[in-house]
Every structure is written in C-alpha cells, then in structure tokens.
C-alpha cells in the first residue's frame, strides 16, 4: 500500500512536472524527466527493501505432535504424583517402625515405634539447708545438705515388663540402691512386682520424694517401713476406684531402709487397700476423696536390733524429729534392746483434694515385742507406739493440688510476667511412745515419751521440673531433756525450731 502510495505520489509529481515540461519545451525538460525517473527508481527500491524486512507468516500448527506431547506430560505428572504418594507411604511405614526419641520435662526417653520397648532417664536433685534456732548448743546440725541425688533409670521391655533402678548419692549414708525392681503388668488390675521398693504401708512414705510438701516427712512416718525387698501383687480395680497391694518382704524396722539381704529367716507380710469411691462421680468436689487402711505383720523368731526402728540422728535404734535429730532411743542403762517376736502395724489413712485445696492424714500403730538383754532385769514386752498427722495445702495461684506434684499453669518466665505456682502448706503431727518402754527399755531422762510438731511453709513451683521450698517446723517434747552430750538428751532439752529450704530439680 505504501509502495503504491509512493508510486502514485511520484506519478502525480511526474504529471505535474510533465505539464510544466510541455509548457517549457526546452532541453532542460528532458533532463528533468530523467532525474524524476531516477528518483522513482530509488523509491521503488526502498519499498522492495522494506517489504523484504517483514517476518514470514507462522507455519500451520501440528496438532498430532502437540497432543502426543501433552499426553506425555500428563503421564509424567501422574507418575510424579503417584511416586510422591508411594514415597509418603514408605515414609509412614518407616516412621511406624522408627524408634521415638524425646527430650522434655519428663526426662530423656527412647522407645520403639510400637512402645513395647523403652528407656527413660530421669533424676532427682535436692539441695537443702537446715538452720536450727535455740537448739541447746547442738553443733553440726546447721547445714547445707545434698539431700538426694538420684539418677533414675526406668523403662519397659516386651510391653508388659517395667523396671526401675534408682541409686542415691546424696544424704549422709553414702551411695546406695534405693529402688531396684521389675514389675510384670498383666493388666491394670493384676501386676506383680519384685525387687527393692517402698513397703505398701505409710501414705506419706509412699508419696514420691520429689512430691513432698515439706523437706522431711512427718513424725508418724517414722513408724512405717521404708524400702524393703520382696514380691508384691498389686493393681487398680474398677478403673482406680479401689487400689490394692499385698506382698511378702524381708521385713525392716520402723523407718528403716533394707540392706540388700535379710537379717533373719522370717518374712514380713504387708498389705494395703485404698478406695476412691467417688472417683467417677459427676460431682467434682467428691472425686478427690480417698481412704483406706494398710498394715504389716512379721514374727521374728530370733533376736536382733536390725528389726528395731532406724538409727537416724543417733547411734541406737529410735525415732527422730522432722529435723532428723533423734528424740527417742532404745537406750536402757547398761543393757541392750533387741526385737524378738511379733511386730505388726496398722494405719488407717486418707486424703482429699479439690481444686487448689489438699488434705492428707494418717494414723499409725506400730506394735512390736522387744526384749531387754545384757543386764537384768531381763524382760520382754510388747510396746505400742502411735503417731498421726494432718497435712493441708492450698495452691495460692489456683492450680490443682494433688497427691503428686503441682503443675503450674504458666511456667516461670519473668520476661512474660509469669511466675509459676505458689503453694501454702501446713502440718501437724505427733508421735507417742508406749509408756511401758520406760525405764527398762529406754532412759526417761534422755528419751522423750512423745513429740509434737507443727510446720508451715511455702512451695514455689517454677515449672514441672524446678521447685523451691521453704518451711519452719516447731517440735516440742514430753520427757527427756536430761543431762547428756548427745542425742536424744541434747535434742530433747529444748524445743526444736528449724528453718528448712530446698531447691529441687526433678525430671
């Protein structure tokens, strides 16, 4: 079109000039025509050049090749999608058999994919301080103390077999094995445990060491067995409404921890039955109520001192305060006391937890035949020592109180203005010694015939693992307090006033 426009313009120009040339009719006209012709030729050439620079029109589309290509791409996409699904299935299959490893507030654990095998590493570390006031000049009892330092190894093998191993490197008794047992779990209602573990008698004794409300347990816990070695059948019935335990053990004296072997042939029977009758009721206020009874029986045929109470706080068997200072000892003048014959215990006990409020109480009777040997008058007598306690708690920050630990709603983090949980605790306890123990089995001048204690404290749960405790205990005595430069005389001379603190790590 452009070409034709130019030619037309040239033609019109030529016509115009031609008309002019006709009028001029001289030799210059011919020259001019030649120039115009030359100009037209140049223009034509330019048009041809412009036409030559245009792109060629596109070729016709190959539909069949495109369709094949699309099909190939479609196949590849489908293959990739399906391969991803197969890879996901394979990954899930691998994950289902891969061991599980976890690290958290429950400790470090490894478990097989199906849960039939697992090991957990946990621990308890308690750093205490004790400060005694007006203690009649007793030395060496104000102390920082590594109260418990226990690595805990527990686990499961072949789904139904649980084990626990707990050595203790704290305290003053040197390293020793506290717990070491295997438990076969047929189901929740029927389990068999064998090894070294707490005898099923004392309610506060059975509370985990990490969950105690005070640094030290109350006075009646001095009458129940600590850890012993034996076999125990136990379980939860009716979904935990009832709990039972019945076992046969070597037998240990009050508050004693068993050595790794028995000291005589006879065995002790221990048992316990607890009920939470309203555990499944619709009334939350009743669900946390529990009560029961526990007891033990042993008939020692020989005579020995190992079946007498623990020597905590002294050098002879006896009973100690919450400050772990001996206030009573089997210490007759120029004679010795041994256990011989029957020893039975019975303990009605109960607890109640509702919201932030907790209450725990127990009454313990320890009735034991003892004999005086060495120096006359030789005597053998059944002595009945009793104790009871009531412990109350209130979680000021509103979390639930339980037989176990308090779990803060918000862990301690000052940057988030979160402070953990705070719990107020109070306790009253008493231990009465059978009066007929005096004077042939114990010296009334040095040993008290009863001790009574009240304690108040504040527990701060920073998170599930860290707890700080502080409490004050006041213990008074009836009897004792005579001359003597060691326990129990020194201890019973004045009331025991002790300030306890604890920093605890438990996981």
């Amino acid at each position: 079109m452009k070409r034709y426009g130019i030619i037309l313009a040239g033609a019109l120009l030529a016509l115009r000039l031609g008309a002019s040339c006709a009028m001029a009719q001289d030799t210059n006209t011919l020259e001019l025509i030649k120039q115009l012709q030359h100009r037209i030729d140049e223009l034509e050439q330019k048009v041809k050049t412009l036409e030559g620079a245009k792109p060629p029109p596109p070729p016709a589309t190959n539909d069949a090749a495109e369709k094949q290509r699309l099909e190939q791409l479609d196949q590849q996409v489908k293959i990739l999608q399906h391969q991803r699904e197969l890879d996901d299935e394979a990954a899930q299959a691998r994950a289902s058999v891969a061991p599980k490893i976890s690290v958290g507030d429950q400790g470090f654990s490894f478990a097989s994919a199906n849960g039939n095998f697992g090991v957990q590493f946990k621990g308890v570390l308690q750093i205490d301080s004790r400060t005694f006031f007006d203690d009649a000049g007793i030395t060496g009892n104000d102390s920082f103390l590594l109260r418990r330092a226990r690595p805990v190894l527990q686990g499961t093998v072949f789904r139904d077999f649980d084990f626990l191993f707990v050595p203790d490197f704290g305290g003053t008794g040197g390293a020793q094995i506290f717990d070491a047992y295997l438990n076969y779990r047929y189901n929740d209602a029927l389990q068999l445990q064998a090894g070294k573990f707490k005898g099923p008698v004392g309610l506060e004794q059975l509370q985990a060491d990490r969950d105690l409300l005070f640094n030290e347990r109350a006075l009646p816990t001095g009458l129940v067995p600590n850890r012993d070695i034996g076999f125990e059948l136990h379980g939860d019935l009716l979904g935990g409404v009832a709990t039972y335990a019945a076992g046969i053990f070597n037998g240990v004296g009050d508050a004693r921890l068993s050595n790794n072997a028995d000291f005589e042939d006879d065995k002790a029977f221990m048992g316990r039955l607890m009920f939470q009758p309203f555990k499944k009721s619709a009334a939350p206020a009743l669900q946390g109520f529990g009560f029961g009874v526990a007891g033990s029986f042993e008939d020692i045929q020989g005579t020995n001192t190992a079946a007498l109470p623990s020597t905590t706080g002294g050098s002879l068997p006896g009973y100690a305060t919450v400050g772990q200072q001996q206030f009573f000892a089997y210490n007759p003048t120029n004679a010795a006391v041994v256990a011989s014959g029957e020893h039975w215990r019975v303990s009605p006990q109960g607890y109640y937890y509702f919201g932030p409020f907790g209450l725990l109480g127990e009454y313990v009777i320890s009735n034991q035949r003892v004999s005086r040997i060495g120096t006359a008058p030789f005597d053998s007598r059944r002595l009945q020592n009793t104790g009871w306690e009531v412990t109350g708690s209130w979680v000021l920050t509103g979390e639930d109180a339980t037989y176990g630990s308090v779990i803060p709603r918000r862990n301690f983090d000052p940057r988030q203005h979160a402070w953990g949980a705070l719990q107020l605790v109070a306790r009253f306890s008493r231990l009465d010694i059978d009066h007929s123990v005096f004077p042939f089995f114990a010296d009334p001048a040095t040993s008290a015939r009863s001790a009574q204690e009240w304690s108040v404290g504040l527990n701060w749960y920073l998170n599930r693992n860290v707890k700080v405790m502080t409490s004050f205990s006041h213990t008074t005595f009836q009897g004792g307090g005579g001359s003597g430069s060691s326990a129990p005389a020194l201890v019973t001379r004045e009331a025991e006033n002790a300030l306890f603190t604890r920093v605890q790590l438990a996981f």
Partner: protein, 333 residues
C-alpha cells in the same frame, strides 16, 4: 415312636445349638484375592454353621505377599495364610517356625487349590501395539508392574519375563538378563502390591501396559467398561501356583485347627473351585476347569521348577538382598 424321634432330634439339635461357639479366623492373603475370599468366606461360614452350628467370622488381611509374610513372622496372628508364592510361606516356616517345613505336602496339588498366570492389560485399541513380551522393551512403552521386593505377583511377572527371555535366547542367562533389564527401564513406578499396580494402570491412567495376574486382568475387564481395556495373552508365560496353609502354632493356641484345615480344604471342593473360576482363577478340578475353559486364554505355560529350579533358588538368585533385581535397579538409577 415318631414323637420320640422328634423329641430326640430336638434334643440333639438343641444340644448342638447350646454348644454352638463363635469362632474367628484370620486369613492373611496377598493383594488381589479380596473378592475371591469375600465369596469363599461367606460360603464356607454358611457351610460350617450348617455342619457344626458354630458361628464363624473370617477376617481378611490383604497386601503384597512378601509384606504379608513378614507381618506374620513379626507376630500377626494368622490362622491361615493364602499367599502368592510358596517361598513366602517357606519364609514363615523357616524364620518363625509357626508351621512345619513340609507344609506344602499337607494339601493336594502342592497346597495350591487354583492357579493363574501372567498376561498383559492394555488400553482400548492397543495404541502401542502390544502383542508379546518383546513389545514391552521397546522405547516409549511405559510398563506397569509392582515391586518384586514386596509383591508376590511382581515376582511372578519378573520370572515370566525372564522365562520368556530364556526361551527366546536359547537359555542364555546373560541375554535374559539384558531383556529383563530393558523391560524394567520402561517401568516408571513400582507399587507395593498387584492390586496397587492395577489401580495405578486402570484408575490413575498411568502406563501403556500392565503386567498382571490373569485374574486381575480379567477382573479389570469385568469391573470397568470392557471396551476401555484389552487383555493380551503373551505367547508364553509362567504357571503361577499360589499356595495356602494353616499356621500350626496359631491354630493350636487358638483352638481353631479343625476349622482352619476345613476352610482350606473347602477351596478344593466343587463349590470352592467354582468360586475360584468365578473370580478368574484357573481351577484345579478338571470338571470345573473344563466348564470354564473359554474364560482363560490359551498360553504356553512353563513352571518355576522347569526354568528356575524352584522358588528357593529363584528367590536367592533374583530377589534376595543384592540379587539380580537389586542390581538392575541400581543400574537403572
């Protein structure tokens, strides 16, 4: 007299019904047998109840034959196993001692109540012109077959291809290897079981040809519009003999030995054989086989004993860790 006999019959029946038990059996099977055992279980349960009064509940587990065998070895409490190949049941016997090593002799026909073979399933119109095994190694042909490491059917597929290669190349193992290697180069994806591979081909639309159990191929033609797929019978293929067995230690512990054995023997009865044929398994019973002859294409069949010296040898050579299949896969990466 009549009233006495009636009373006696009522007494006998009531005693049967009074003593009627509820029995559960677990049949651990390979991937494609779902429909077969659905019918077999219903029929046998009815038969057993009529015979003994006991109520029978047969539960099924399906998956790749190798995977299923491993599950049983690992503790899955199967009363019976009905797997794709004898080697998988041999593995259960050897590794877990749940049944004796000579289990295969306990039932007729080497404990295989039905047989099958390996064929091809192609798309409507057979666009890639698949006629025989040679067409599967051509470039541009996408072949679907499951993973021989997990699927019994896949191992039959592989050996069928290898067997064809041996026949074609005068029993040259090297050439058969090259042939099968070329075939697996054309396999874009490996499902874990035969049913998974069928689903990949038929429902997902992946691949040009599916190497399949004959029964799977015929079932696919029946289930989906017949015109969408075509069955291609190769010139030769392998005779697949899926075996069945009761698991002694499990049935003895559970007290189900009598019913478990009866259940497997039921597969050999005319009713059991008819159900096998209905689900496109080649029946053993001549009368039933003759009746359903038209269903099954005529193919030259070779056995695993003939070309491979039996399953133990074939498994060790081809499918064990580091075997020929592993080497092929490594080379194809």
């Amino acid at each position: 007299m009549k009233s006495f006999l009636t009373a006696l019959t009522v007494l006998a029946l009531s005693s049967v019904w009074t003593n009627a038990k509820e029995i559960t059996l677990l049949n651990v099977s390979y991937d494609p047998t779902r429909e077969l055992y659905q019918d077999v279980n219903a029929a046998f349960a009815k038969f057993w109840q009529a015979k003994t009064g006991d109520q029978l509940n047969i539960q099924q587990s399906h998956g790749g034959s190798g995977k299923q065998a491993r599950s049983v070895i690992d503790g899955l409490g199967a009363d019976v196993v009905t797997l794709a190949l004898a080697y998988d049941i041999d593995a259960i016997a050897e590794k877990s001692h749940l049944l004796p090593p000579d289990w295969q002799k306990r039932l007729p026909d080497n404990s295989s109540p039905y047989t099958s073979t390996i064929v091809f399933l192609v798309r409507k119109g057979n666009p890639k012109g698949i006629k025989d095994w040679d067409d599967l190694v051509k470039p541009g042909v996408s072949v679907i077959t499951p993973n021989p490491k997990t699927s019994g059917g896949a191992r039959w597929n592989y050996l069928a291809a290898w067997g064809y290669g041996l026949k074609k190349f005068d029993r040259s193992e090297a050439k058969a290897l090259a042939f099968v290697a070329s075939l697996f180069k054309n396999v874009p994806i490996l499902d874990s079981g035969a049913r998974g591979a069928t689903t990949t081909f038929v429902q997902r639309g992946i691949g040009d040809v599916l190497i399949a159990w004959e029964n799977e191929a015929l079932l696919s033609l029946q289930e989906f519009a017949k015109g969408d797929f075509e069955l291609i019978a190769p010139s030769s293929s392998i005779l697949a003999e899926p075996p069945v067995a009761w698991v002694d230690k499990v049935v003895n512990r559970r007290g189900t030995s009598e019913v478990a054995e009866a259940y497997l023997r039921f597969l050999y009865t005319p009713e059991g054989q008819e159900l096998a044929a209905k689900h496109f398994y080649r029946p053993r019973l001549d009368s039933v086989a003759l009746k359903h002859a038209a269903t099954f294409p005529k193919i030259n069949l070779f056995t695993i004993d003939e070309l491979f010296g039996g399953w133990q040898k074939a498994q060790k050579t081809h499918f064990s860790e580091g075997g020929i299949f592993d080497q092929l896969q490594q080379a194809n990466r």
